[in-house]
């Protein structure tokens, strides 16, 4: 009775047979979406238009007047100093508001994180978006004196950066002189640094900051801080005045 056995076996095999399709050929092409694409989708354009109008209206809102062109430069510049000063002031205000028993000693804003110069004259919301296209938030870090020294050494190595609350003299890419909060730097002390979450995560070669004793997130976007502070000062009738005070200098 071999025949029925084979019949059953065949039926089982057929039923379990793979019905899936097989790819016989693949063609691929990564197409550049540039000016060669002639057809725009009118529905998408129509959907976006009112949002764009509303946005452009807001972006052109004047929030301050600057007396100078603010250009970033090393070792210090009006632009890096302005942002770092606002960061330090806001860090202090945050600690007061949150009833913390400490204040940030220094503020750090990475030079590379400031993407454009601010022009002399009217400063708009759009300018600040161009200056800071990233969604970085303000954070507070408590670091040991040793970590602080490595951190400042990195600033010295790159020939300057955006800082507030310190005075740094650079000799051949190394720390020549360092004061924090008006006092000589003490490697045995802990320091509080206010900066952005990108730097706190070790970005821009600041990996030493991963070695921290405390870390506080504020949930405040640095761009929002900038816009609000500048607008507030503007309403009080104060214009942006570029400051160069020798906080970082070459010895």
């Amino acid at each position: 009775m071999r025949y029925p056995f084979i019949l059953i076996a065949l039926l089982i095999i057929l039923c379990s047979c793979n019905n899936q399709l097989v790819v016989s050929r693949v063609e691929a092409n990564n197409i550049s979406n540039d000016s060669l694409v002639m057809l725009s989708d009118a529905d998408v354009a129509e959907l976006v238009a009112p949002y764009r109008e509303n946005l452009e209206g807001d972006m052109s809102r004047v929030i301050s007047i600057s007396n100078d062109d603010l250009v970033r430069a090393k070792p210090e510049s009006e632009l890096t100093n302005l942002v770092a000063d606002i960061l330090l002031e806001t860090g202090v205000a945050f600690c007061q508001f949150a009833n913390h028993d400490f204040m940030p000693d220094v503020a750090y804003m990475n030079y590379g994180g400031l993407r454009v110069a601010l022009p002399k004259g009217e400063i708009t919301v759009g300018h600040i978006f161009q200056l800071m296209p990233f969604e970085n938030e303000m954070v507070l870090l408590k670091v040991s004196g040793e970590t602080m020294e490595q951190f400042v050494q990195q600033i010295a190595l790159r020939g300057g950066d955006g800082v507030a609350g310190m005075r740094l003299g650079i000799v051949d890419g190394r720390i020549g002189h360092l004061e924090v909060d008006g006092k000589a730097f003490d490697v045995k002390k802990d320091y509080w640094v206010v900066t952005n979450d990108y730097i706190a995560a070790g970005g821009d070669d600041m990996s030493m900051l991963a070695n921290r004793k405390k870390f506080i997130e504020t949930g405040l976007k640095i761009r929002d801080i900038m816009i609000e502070r500048l607008e507030l000062e503007h309403q009080r009738g104060r214009q942006i005045q570029g400051i160069l005070d020798g906080r970082i200098y070459y010895e």
Binding site: N19, V26, V44
Partner: protein, 312 residues
């Protein structure tokens, strides 16, 4: 096998195939020939759009005038006019990057992508930029699913928001899609993802591809990945994942903003071909991969397997 000659064996197989075809177990070759033998499926994809709804400015230092979603949609619609079977996917990081996001959160980008007719998206790390609230408030604007297999949202408010796989049927082609997100710790603030649990992407991929291929019988298995193309360190990436898989045909990647001239043709764990592609970022590139299936080839394979029992 005495009394069972070669001729009778052939006749037997022919009869059997004819009989079973009526039961819908297998297709008749004649039935197949009546249809087109070759059927093609176009997979279109983007990644890391980052809310670049408008083209980059004409005076942009690197990407002068490139991108723009209205134009991208025009391009996609053009392809849809010539191709019958099209699927459009995105591999995450739709959010963040232009004031459109700062102003409208996920609303506008998800509305635009819905209008463009995306079939599925994935959750990139930047989708968490406004926290779980941000996702919850925006997700309703997406008329397409965000497929994510390795973020466990079960302890969060978003527990039933994201399918862990999805299946599409296009002209008889069954396509299974699963999604893999990048590790959140260190990349996304803890307060932004809360109790969302990151599961090992390799383990999840192996489970999902097996399930889609074997249990669901998909003809094609696609992974939407936000792991990143490759890293100097041994961090899991699309390249490393590809080498571990068995049934995934294509990994549509993102996160590393990689511009590839064409998809990488890599070998999976069984030494078979797996494609890995990525389409730059900011809507500047549309990835297009056409899979051409040969309906007839499948039949050959079956006939081959039918020979086994009788030639023992």
């Amino acid at each position: 096998m005495e009394g069972f000659t070669m001729n009778s064996r052939r006749k037997f197989i022919r009869d059997l195939v004819g009989a079973s075809a009526g039961l819908g177990l297998v297709h008749l070759p004649a039935d197949l020939l009546a249809k087109q033998d070759l059927v093609s499926l176009s997979i279109l994809h983007t990644n890391d759009i980052h809310c670049h709804i408008d083209p980059f400015p004409k005076d942009h230092s690197v990407y002068q005038g490139r991108g723009g979603l209205a134009r991208l949609s025009g391009l996609i619609n053009q392809i849809r006019k010539t191709e019958k079977n099209v699927l459009l996917f995105d591999a995450g990081d739709m959010f963040q990057g232009t004031p459109y996001f700062n102003y409208y959160k996920g609303e506008l980008i998800l509305k635009v992508m819905s209008e463009m007719g995306y079939d599925a998206g994935m959750i990139g790390n930047h989708e968490f930029d406004n926290g779980m609230d941000g996702i919850e408030e925006s997700i309703g604007f997406a008329k397409f699913p965000l497929v994510c297999s390795n973020y466990d949202f079960s302890k969060t408010r978003l527990y039933d928001t994201f399918p862990t796989y999805n299946i599409y049927r296009k002209n008889g082609i069954k396509v299974g899609v699963y999604g893999l997100g990048v590790e959140l710790d260190g990349l996304v603030g803890a307060q932004n993802y809360l109790e969302t649990e990151y599961l090992d992407p390799v383990k999840v991929a192996l489970e999902k591809e097996l399930f889609l291929k074997k249990e669901k019988g998909c003809d094609l298995v696609i992974c939407l990945s936000h792991l990143g193309l490759q890293y100097k360190e041994q961090k899991i990436s699309d390249r490393l994942l590809a080498a571990e898989t068995h049934y995934t045909d294509l990994i549509i990647g993102g996160h590393t903003h990689s511009f590839l001239d064409s998809p990488l043709k890599l070998k999976n764990a069984d030494g078979n071909r797996i494609l890995v592609n990525q389409a730059g970022w900011g809507g500047m590139v549309l990835g297009r991969i056409d899979f051409i299936f040969d309906r007839h080839k499948k039949e050959d394979k079956q006939i081959l397997s039918q020979n086994i029992p009788v030639s023992e």
